[in-house]
C-alpha cells in the first residue's frame, strides 16, 4: 500500500462531504425512510440512556467477545501449526481460502441446529468468520520468519514451546496482528449477521425487529452505532498495525 504521504486534511474533508451527502439524501428521501445526521446522533444518545436497550447491547458484546476469543485462539493454533509444517499448510491453506470465499450465512442454519437457538450459535458463527483470516495471516507470518532466527533457536536447543514463544511468535507478530485486525472485523460482522437471522436478543435482532415495526429511528441509530464502532476500532487497530510494521 502506498502510504508515503497520507492526506489527512483530505480525509477529514471527505468525511464532512459524506455527512453532507447523508443530509442531502435525507432532504430528498424525507422523514419516511431516513433521519438526518443530527437526529440520528440524538436518538443514539437517547437509546444509550434507555435501560431496555442495554441487555441487547450486552448480549451482542458478550457474543462478540466470546466469538473473538475463539476466533483468535483457533486461528493462532491453526496458523502456528500449519505455518511450521510446509506440507500440511500446502494441503489445508487452499481449503481455508475456499471457506473464506463461500457465503458463510448459508452455514448458519447448520450451526443453529448444532448449537441450538441462543448465544452459542452466534458465538460459533462469529468465530467461523473470524478464525479464517487469523489463521491465513499467521501461516504466512510464520513462513516468513527469517531462517536465521529459527537457526539461532535451534542452536540454543529451544524446545517446540520455547521456539514458538521466544522466536516464531515475536518475529511474526506484526503480520499476525494484521490477521487479528481483519479477524476482529469479520468476527463482528459474523456476530451481528447471526443475530439478524434468528435470535431473540442483541443489536442484530433489534435491527431486524425494527424493520417489522418500521422504526426508522432505531434502524438508523443502531446502524450508525455499529458503523462508528467498527470504523473507530478498525482505525485504532490499523494504527497499531502500522506501528508494529514500522518497527521492523
Amino acid at each position: 500500500m502506498n502510504n508515503s504521504n497520507p492526506n489527512w486534511q483530505g480525509t477529514a474533508l471527505l468525511l464532512v462531504a459524506l455527512i453532507a451527502l447523508w443530509q442531502v439524501l435525507y432532504m430528498i428521501v424525507g422523514e419516511i425512510a431516513l433521519r438526518s445526521p443530527l437526529e440520528t446522533i440524538r436518538f443514539s444518545y437517547e437509546l444509550l440512556q434507555k435501560p431496555s436497550f442495554w441487555p441487547h447491547l450486552i448480549e451482542t458484546a458478550k457474543a462478540f467477545g466470546a466469538a473473538l476469543f475463539f476466533a483468535v485462539a483457533l486461528g493462532l493454533a491453526i496458523g502456528l501449526t500449519l505455518g511450521l509444517k510446509r506440507l500440511a499448510a500446502d494441503v489445508f491453506e487452499p481449503m481455508l481460502v475456499a471457506l473464506y470465499s463461500i457465503p458463510k450465512v448459508t452455514l448458519y442454519p447448520i450451526l443453529l441446529l448444532a448449537f441450538g437457538l441462543g448465544i452459542s450459535a452466534k458465538i460459533a458463527f462469529g468465530a467461523l468468520h473470524g478464525f479464517i483470516p487469523v489463521s491465513l495471516f499467521t501461516i504466512n507470518a510464520v513462513r516468513n520468519v527469517k531462517p536465521i532466527f529459527l537457526k539461532t533457536g535451534k542452536v540454543l536447543k529451544l524446545g517446540r514451546v520455547g521456539m514458538i514463544s521466544h522466536i516464531v511468535f515475536p518475529a511474526a507478530m506484526p503480520e499476525i496482528f494484521s490477521g487479528l485486525r481483519i479477524g476482529f472485523s469479520l468476527t463482528m460482522i459474523g456476530t451481528v449477521l447471526g443475530e439478524m437471522f434468528a435470535s431473540q436478543k442483541g443489536l442484530g435482532y433489534l435491527l431486524m425487529n425494527a424493520i417489522g415495526l418500521h422504526n426508522v429511528d432505531i434502524i438508523m441509530s443502531i446502524t450508525f452505532m455499529l458503523i462508528v464502532f467498527a470504523a473507530v476500532m478498525s482505525g485504532i487497530l490499523l494504527m497499531i498495525d502500522r506501528r508494529l510494521h514500522r518497527r521492523i
Binding site: 506440507l87 475456499a98 463461500i102 457465503p103 458463510k104 442454519p109 435491527l207 478498525s234 490499523l238
Partner: protein, 250 residues
C-alpha cells in the same frame, strides 16, 4: 504439487466419510444433519426435478448484475482516483477501514428506502464488492512498469490508447484479483441478504427450509451454494495463477 492435491482429496474425502459414519451410527442425529450421501442424493433430485430453478436463476442473475456493476464502476473509479493522487491519499483510510464495516447492517435501511425487492440486495452485494475492485485496480495501476509507460510515450500514444493498449493489459493480473473478490462478494451479498430478509432466491429458500425443519431441502441447497461459489472461485483462481506465471510474478 500432485502429492498435496492427492492429500487434499484424501482429507476432504475422509472428512465426508467421517460425517457419513457419524450420521449413520446416530452420533449426529438426523434432525441435525442427514448423512452426506443422502444430501448428495437430495441435491440430485432437486436438480433433476428443477424445483428450485427459479430461485437459483433469481440469485445468480442478481449476483451477476451486482458483479457487473461492482467491476465496471470499481475499475472506472479506480482509474479515476489513480489519476488524482491527493484524492487517493484522502481515500486511503476509508479503503483501509471499509471492510471492518458490517455492510449488511445497511440492509434494513435499504429495505426501508427501496422496499423489499431486488434493489436492496443488489446494492448490498455491490457495496461489498466494489471496494475490493477499486483497491486492486489501484494496486494494478501502481505496478505498471515505468518502462512500458515511457515506451507508450515514445510511440506517441495519446492517453486513451495508452490506457487501452498499455496500462490495462499490464494491470490485468491485479484487476483479476479484484474481479475474483467481486464474484465472491456479490454471491455473499446476494445470498446473505436473501437469507436475512427476502421473498425469493436460494438464500431465502434455505432460510425457509430451516424455519420448516425441512432438512431434505436445506442441506442440498447449502451444498449447492458451496459448490457454485467454490467452483467459480477455483476457475478464476486458476486463471489468475496462469496470468501471474506468464508474467513471471509467481
Amino acid at each position: 504439487m500432485k502429492r498435496t492435491a492427492l492429500l487434499r482429496i484424501l482429507v476432504i474425502g475422509g472428512f465426508i466419510g467421517l460425517l457419513e459414519i457419524l450420521c449413520r451410527i446416530g452420533v449426529i442425529d438426523n434432525f441435525t444433519m442427514p448423512p452426506p450421501s443422502r444430501i448428495a442424493y437430495d441435491l440430485w433430485k432437486i436438480i433433476v426435478t428443477g424445483k428450485f430453478n427459479a430461485a437459483i436463476a433469481v440469485t445468480l442473475s442478481n449476483a451477476g448484475f451486482a458483479f457487473i456493476l461492482a467491476v465496471s464502476i470499481g475499475v472506472a473509479f479506480g482509474v479515476f482516483v489513480h489519476a488524482l493522487p491527493p484524492l487517493r491519499h484522502a481515500l486511503d483510510p476509508f479503503f483501509a477501514t471499509y471492510y471492518a464495516i458490517p455492510v449488511l447492517a445497511f440492509y434494513p435501511l435499504l429495505i426501508i428506502i427501496f422496499g423489499l425487492g431486488d434493489i436492496p440486495k443488489i446494492m448490498i452485494a455491490f457495496m461489498l464488492g466494489v471496494v475490493a475492485v477499486i483497491v486492486n485496480t489501484l494496486n494494478g495501476l501502481d505496478r505498471v512498469p515505468r518502462v512500458l509507460l515511457k515506451t507508450a510515450k515514445m510511440a506517441r500514444l495519446n492517453r486513451i490508447s495508452t490506457a487501452i493498449k498499455v496500462t490495462l493489459p499490464s494491470a490485468t493480473p491485479y484487476l483479476l484479483t479484484g474481479v475474483k473478490f467481486a464474484v465472491a462478494y456479490s454471491l455473499i451479498g446476494i445470498i446473505g441478504s436473501e437469507f436475512v430478509m427476502s421473498t425469493n432466491g436460494v438464500g431465502f429458500e434455505i432460510a425457509f427450509a430451516y424455519n420448516n425443519f425441512d432438512n431434505s431441502t436445506m442441506y442440498p441447497l447449502i451444498l449447492l451454494v458451496m459448490i457454485i461459489s467454490i467452483s467459480i472461485n477455483m476457475i478464476l483462481g486458476l486463471w489468475e495463477k496462469k496470468l501471474l506465471i506468464r508474467r513471471g510474478l509467481r
